[in-house]
Symmetry: C2
Subunit: 251 residues, 2 copies
């Protein structure tokens, strides 16, 4: 049984507490957070003083990225200490003898449930012993565990911003345009789902369609005429030019 303490009460910390509390291979000993807030949907004992943190095999520090650069309060922690940040190097934990990274590749919101079973977890550790321990921890909740180094993880984090945050913002623009013209956004949902099905079985590079890649200037102009918001127009133009530039040599 791996003994685990989770530090933090943000989105990632809350989801991790909730899933590890249910695992048979892990004992979730404690949660620490500064204000001693209870974790939603989780009965784990919570402490708010550093000196009350109990000993464990692994400590997951699920703080915001900016808080990872000052961990001097936690220097007494023994065991394997890991952070959960995609964009932060493992060496931010250099003061700890046993260190690593436990990066669940998902966009977390507290109120939206997460299926950890299929959720990729990227791990890294500073020794093969620590890596094995972390691998066992990750495999207790997910079928998809990958060992990758800090540089790859950072690149993966940027890729995830494009694949998740930026694409989501495109869907928000689509929603706003529908609302403005009294169109039910659900008309677009099959198209969105189909986009994803195509990507999973093909490469997105090969599934690009639309007026930008066709260099259909008539349609592009019509679209710009319909968009009322100057910001939306600029976004449309920037993306259209970027697509044309990207496929330029092939067109």
């Amino acid at each position: 049984m791996i003994e685990l303490v989770i530090l933090g009460n943000g989105n990632v910390a809350c989801h991790l507490c909730s899933v590890f509390e249910k695992s048979n291979q892990v004992l979730l000993v404690q949660n620490y957070n500064r204000r001693g807030m209870q974790i939603p949907n989780c009965n784990v004992p919570v402490v708010h003083k550093v000196n009350e943190i109990r000993s464990a095999d692994i400590y997951i520090i699920a703080f915001g990225d900016n808080s990872l650069h000052n961990l001097s309060n936690f220097k007494t922690l023994k065991g394997l200490v890991v952070h959960t940040s995609g964009a932060t190097n493992m060496n931010v934990l250099n003061t700890f003898k046993n260190r690593g990274v436990f990066y669940p590749l998902q966009s977390f919101k507290k109120e939206i449930p997460v299926n950890f079973n299929d959720l990729p977890i990227a791990i890294e550790a500073n020794s093969s012993f620590c890596e094995k321990l972390l691998l066992n921890l990750a495999k207790s909740i997910s079928k998809k565990v990958y060992s990758i180094n800090s540089k790859q993880r950072k690149a993966l984090h940027v890729a995830a911003v494009f694949a998740n945050n930026f694409s989501n913002f495109m869907y928000t623009q689509a929603l706003d345009i529908c609302n403005e013209h009294q169109i039910d956004f659900s008309i677009l949902k099959p198209l969105i789902e189909e986009t994803i099905i195509k990507i999973v079985s093909n490469s997105p590079k090969d599934t690009q369609t639309g007026p930008a890649i066709r260099k259909d200037s008539l349609t592009i102009q019509k679209h710009l005429d319909i968009l009322h918001s100057e910001k939306q127009k600029k976004l449309y133009q920037h993306l259209t030019l970027a697509i044309q530039d990207y496929y330029g040599k092939e067109l």
Copy 2:
């Protein structure tokens, strides 16, 4: 039995020929295309001279948008004449007594199969008689048929560009970043699928996460440092600013 002729041999025309050939309620009489090319996976008789086009109840003109503005060669067509363009007004067909629009809301590629059953089709016609005929045609292949006017359809077409073309381009950027760093793109697929599941059950407006909306300038700078391509950097910056501006009042 509705008698149908389909004009054109582009992506939309080919998929429509293929699905209507299988329909029990529709008789696909003919395909016309300029060069008399056979339609892949479809046994419909093909003609390339306008005077060989046979009479039918409905003619679907599935030409590119730019070709819809010069249809004088086809002025002898009797019956209901419709185009398939999301971005083109119905009145481009004003020389035809019975006219309409049959707009399947999907991004078509010839080699990728389409499930028409769940594919939304937006229709418009210039009389209730024509609208009913078009409704029957659309319902013979899809469960999701919507009557919308030309202005709404244009807006829907722009929304679809954001929801499909632009989001797809984001996935392509993610793929390129993964390839550059020897990361298997499939690590990102669960995240992409989860993004879509969230949108279908929530509003994308409420599911936005990431460094842009968090105004996490440290991570944003790290990401810009990792991106090698100047174009990718500019795209990242434009989208980050657009997200921050959009959510600005709420942050």
